[in-house]
Symmetry: C2
């Protein structure tokens, strides 16, 4: 029920996932409005939820008053083992709060985080976390983010020894702020491929697989990247239609522009895994369209099949054993 285009985009995305045999989605929310949108031919299961969380509702208030909301109902189905993963485009703070409340955290994880994927110049994806959940972090939280990023890159993306960097204002040891300096010292003692401080440019040149930051910096970074990409594509679009010569040039380069548009389009990547809770959960952009929802369902299916939460549990257990 959540998101700017809900429930329409959610229902249509789920139908597409069902039609293309990506997964067997279960839709959770107001049964009547969902059924009115569902294709008669589709055999998608609908589970009724009497309320839903508004986009601007404070997560703490939702947690108290909206236990019967669509998002919490979905996590309850997951806890009961009726579904293997949850996908939501609604209020992400509330999704995080309910996931922690209903699924619980993996032992050793104090702060579950939101992980986003960013295309880089090497044609691969870099992971950024936390990209929005936790604004005021302690150094130990960044260490947990690094372990979570390592596990996702290794078991989710198949990178043998993921390169993990700490986002900072410079690569030199003298750089960083109070938070990153303490985290940097802790990260050097970790049994992962920690590369030290990295700069914003490293997020996109392909030199790093996992970028670690607090959720405030991470969210600014995420939206800033969208902003730059949007400004550049707007710039190109506005100029291309202005003469016959330019229109012809565009036609000849149409496939290149289409590939660029796909590369910077968040909806190609589906969504952002909520990591550190006991189960697979994908948080989608509020403005998600049908394609984004379909891709998020595919991502949820993939990560659930790869048993990422189980691998993360194991990694956290090892960390606790060796660091107390």
């Amino acid at each position: 029920m959540g998101g700017d285009n809900a429930p329409y985009a959610i229902v249509k995305g789920a139908e597409a996932a069902w039609r293309e045999e990506i997964a067997e989605p279960v839709l959770v929310g107001d049964e009547q409005s969902i059924r009115s949108l569902l294709d008669a031919a589709s055999k998608i299961e609908v589970v009724h939820a009497p309320t839903y969380v508004e986009m601007r509702e404070a997560p703490s208030s939702a947690l108290r008053k909206k236990r019967d909301s669509s998002v919490n109902k979905a996590y309850e189905l997951q806890r009961a083992g009726d579904v293997e993963a949850v996908v939501t485009a609604g209020n992400s703070g509330a999704a995080m709060a309910f996931a922690i409340f209903t699924l619980g955290r993996i032992q050793g994880v104090e702060r579950p985080a939101i992980m986003s994927f960013h295309p880089n110049a090497k044609g691969r994806l870099s992971i950024l976390l936390d990209s929005g959940g936790n604004v005021d972090c302690k150094p130990g939280h960044l260490v947990q983010f690094a372990i979570m990023g390592h596990v996702y890159a290794k078991y989710g993306m198949g990178i043998e020894s993921p390169r993990v960097g700490l986002l900072s204002n410079g690569e030199e040891e003298t750089k960083g702020n109070e938070l990153t300096r303490e985290a940097h010292a802790l990260l050097r003692g970790l049994n992962i491929n920690y590369m030290g401080y990295i700069e914003g440019t490293d997020m996109y040149n392909g030199s790093t697989d996992v970028v670690v930051s607090d959720g405030f910096v991470g969210n600014v970074a995420l939206k800033l990247s969208e902003g730059v990409a949007e400004a550049i594509t707007t710039f190109l679009k506005e100029r291309i239609g202005t003469s016959f010569r330019r229109k012809l040039g565009y036609l000849l380069l149409r496939d290149v522009f289409a590939e660029l548009a796909r590369t910077v389009d968040y909806s190609e990547y589906g969504g952002a895994p909520l990591v550190g809770v006991s189960g697979t959960s994908i948080i989608c952009h509020g403005k998600s369209n049908e394609k984004a929802i379909k891709n998020a369902i595919a991502m949820a299916k993939d990560f659930a099949a790869k048993k990422i939460p189980e691998h993360l549990s194991e990694a956290m257990r090892q960390y606790i054993d060796s660091h107390g």
Copy 2:
């Protein structure tokens, strides 16, 4: 003497500024190496400085040991009234330390800041500050940054009522971290056009003239923006040369790509003013080329002529009078 291409790029940039009658530059540094690069025809004054600050030297150590460095010598000339502004591509931390030490701060400014310019989708420039000087800030520092940004946008760029935003992880009042929440409350009491929290996307869509953040977030934002723009231009370049059709398309759109390259090229904007010290000072990118130096000299001339430090003094005086 500072910067990746020094002293060559600095000398050639100064010569270009002299040749094009932008300003009458004075070069400060090792006289012999500067003279060996200077065109015989150019009548640029050279002031000898026996040492210079290395790029990786800690500012605090430079401040103790390098009083006779080129950068401090330049600020001494400015304090004595022999030059109207200083331009440097060297160690920016040391430049800031010496500017504060030798020129002094404007009354009411606790933390001078570095201001960067970012092209936006409206074809104008947005100001970001602090983009690197101060990593751990208090709310009052962000208020001073806002006043400094307001003054530069108004008197430097001629914007009657500059829109000032606080960079955050969302626009809602419930967003922000500890630092921004306190700063937000203070900024609302300020006599400027304060728009509240803005997101990373607003930095590039033209909805804001001045973006305020601490120097850690600002520096990450600055380098991230460069990173995204670089990744996109690399993406386009790599694909364009791969077939006759695409090469032809590129030729027809060559002016559009050239305009894009100019728009995202930092060297077009010259440099970043160091604001809050008693005098005009422009900090350039370490990798500045001749064109960047020339444009930075033009910027220095312009801001010195517009008496920005004097306007800032006046604005700070008013702020102190009304807020104690």
